[in-house]
């Protein structure tokens, strides 16, 4: 398998994407006094507590009041600040969707929503805390940029990029501590293009977030069976600048699979289908949660039950290619 080794790590170490967020906030806060941070009583989980400790005067805990938090962030942006707003993806989106739409995106305010605990891997807390529709909600609002980074280093890059780019952002961070994929010194976050992880000719696999590492491992298993998969990693799905890369790959392979720790409705699966149906109709298999709620369980058990582990991806992609 040809791996684009220039910016990838072959032997990544397990690191917390949430810590990456907290550390980057501190780094940004040191450089720019206009960075302010809001959280809703989950600062130890989201890791905004690092910023709180360092810059207490610029940290605002809204308590358990996400609607007030989101609109307060809008007000801070009106006053020229760059607010980063965090809580779990479940509460950072659906709970305050009207506030995000009307008070942040409609006036194009410079608010950065960084939600942790996106996806089924919230684990034991169960369906009430497992955001499987958050990306769909955020992607449908005009003017919202949506990024789903895949590892510790990419979270850092995405957060820095958001801080330096005007306008509303939604960045989805997983709860799971993930094996790093990217080489810190050589990988540069670039929303303009898809990141080609592997070159392949039999199938294109489009993914982002914590399923990237699963897709890479699945591609290794497919390779043993003589199937070469081209993995495209598209961390930014809105605006979706990677359409040309996707079409080019689809023209080559003729079959496309999308993989996400999210509902198959409204996330990367939808982005790929919308793009291909307009530009180059291609058979697509969408892998994600299949319009269902999650349930309690250990992270790996849930990944397996909902078909997102590398083994499950391998099986599903093989079956799809046989059709």
């Amino acid at each position: 398998m040809i791996i684009n080794s220039s910016f990838l790590k072959t032997d990544g170490e397990v690191k917390s994407p949430r810590s990456a967020y907290g550390e980057t906030l501190v780094e940004l806060g040191e450089k720019n006094k206009n960075i302010v941070v809001l959280d809703a009583d989950l600062s130890c989980s989201t890791q905004t507590c690092m910023f709180h400790k360092k810059f207490p005067e610029r940290f605002f805990n809204s308590g358990i009041a996400e609607q007030d938090m989101m609109t307060t962030a809008a007000g801070l942006a009106l006053a020229g600040k760059i607010p980063f707003v965090s809580t779990f993806a479940m509460f950072a989106t659906a709970r305050c969707l009207d506030q995000i739409r009307n008070s942040i995106c409609y006036p194009k305010l410079n608010v950065k929503i960084v939600a942790t605990h996106g996806g089924i891997t919230v684990g034991e807390d169960g369906a009430s805390h497992q955001a499987l529709e958050d990306v769909s909600f955020m992607r449908s609002i005009p003017g919202m940029t949506v990024i789903i980074p895949s590892d510790y280093y990419e979270v850092k890059e995405a957060v820095r990029y958001a801080a330096n780019t005007d306008g509303p952002f939604y960045i989805r961070v997983s709860r799971t501590n993930l094996k790093t994929v990217f080489d810190e010194s050589n990988y540069k976050f670039d929303p303009k293009n898809a990141v080609k992880i592997t070159d392949g000719k039999d199938v294109t696999v489009v993914t982002n977030g914590e399923t990237l590492i699963e897709a890479i491992n699945a591609a290794k298993m497919l390779e043993a069976d003589g199937i070469s998969a081209e993995i495209l990693h598209t961390p930014q799905i809105k605006p979706f600048f990677a359409a040309d890369d996707l079409v080019q790959s689809a023209k080559k392979t003729g079959k496309v699979v999308t993989v996400e720790n999210h509902s198959i409705i409204g996330g990367i699966g939808s982005v790929v289908c919308e793009t291909l149906s307009e530009k180059h109709p291609t058979p697509v298999l969408r892998i994600g949660t299949n319009d269902v709620f999650g349930q309690s369980g250990e992270q790996r058990v849930l990944m397996e039950q909902y078909g997102l582990t590398s083994e499950k991806l391998y099986e599903k992609i093989k079956a799809f290619l046989k059709k």
Binding site: S62, T71, T72, L76, L78, A79, N102
Partner: protein
């Protein structure tokens, strides 16, 4: 109204604003006369006597020092637009574009169109106070002494997020916020008491840590005194302004039916007669 605001009486000014509101809503064949007419005196006192906002808007070198006003009850936009235009923020001729395609005078205020004097996009109720709270925090971080004024509807106080915001403002001791409640006691489906009573609003606000004054929301003197007290206060301050929905037009007064309905030709004519 012609000429300088300083040359006319408060009554003449408010009559002009009422006339604008009626003509704009008539011209648009839609809008919210009741809640626009109830806050005419509140906005007129604010903009002529209390707020420090340059009519040159962003061109002013004092722009950053301005007091901020957020119309949380965004449906009263016609009143705000008229007051701003009559004070010179933009040309009053633009008022008649209200609610029409391509206008800067959107149905509910929006910052997207660059209309001079508009601080915030509002319309979805229950959000202006949290927004004010964020602006107030930002001003404090910058050691900017400006104040933030926010006008709420009383029906709007039924939104739970308003109470989240009140709690936050009090907790953070944001003494640079002045909340004004346009207490006209009516909402779309009838009286606030029938739909969902606010009960003792003053006591509720006090319990949330606010200094509260209740005034006649159509009295220039009472509003001026209360707002001046609020401006000097070192506590979060709330003014409950008792008002009459549809104030000034006999057949619109205290009638929930005029919440969101445009007057027909004959109704406009009759209404204009009353405020001559």
């Amino acid at each position: 109204m012609n000429g300088n605001i300083k040359d006319i009486s408060f009554k003449e000014f408010t009559n002009t604003v009422r006339g604008d509101i009626l003509k704009m809503i008539h011209g648009a064949k839609s809008g919210h006369p009741g809640g626009s007419l109830s806050c005419v005196e509140i906005l007129s006192v604010l903009y002529t006597k209390i707020l420090n906002v340059p009519v040159e808007w962003k061109k002013s070198s004092d722009f950053n020092k301005r007091d901020r006003f957020i119309l949380s009850k965004g449906h009263a936009s016609a009143c705000l637009y008229s007051v701003l235009a009559r004070l010179g923020f933009f040309n009053p001729e633009e008022l008649m574009t209200f609610r029409k395609f391509g206008s800067r005078l959107q149905g509910h205020p929006s910052t997207r169109y660059g209309l001079e004097g508009i601080e915030a996009s509002t319309g979805s109720l229950g959000q202006g106070l949290s927004m004010a709270s964020g602006v107030a925090l930002g001003l404090k971080l910058d050691k900017n002494p400006a104040k933030v004024y926010v006008l709420m509807g009383d029906g709007e106080m039924q939104e739970g997020s308003v109470w989240e915001a009140l709690m936050a403002i009090s907790h953070r001791k944001l003494d640079n916020i002045v909340v004004i409640v346009d207490r006209n006691n009516l909402q779309i489906d009838g009286s606030c008491d029938d739909v969902k009573s606010l009960g003792c609003l003053d006591k509720k606000l006090e319990a949330f840590g606010f200094e509260v004054q209740t005034v006649d929301g159509h009295s220039e003197d009472e509003l001026t005194k209360a707002l001046s007290t609020a401006k000097a206060s070192n506590k979060p301050f709330a003014i409950i302004a008792n008002t009459i929905k549809g104030k000034g037009i006999s057949f619109m007064e205290n009638n929930a039916g005029w919440h969101g309905k445009a007057p027909k030709d004959a109704e406009l004519e009759a209404a204009m007669e009353e405020i001559k």
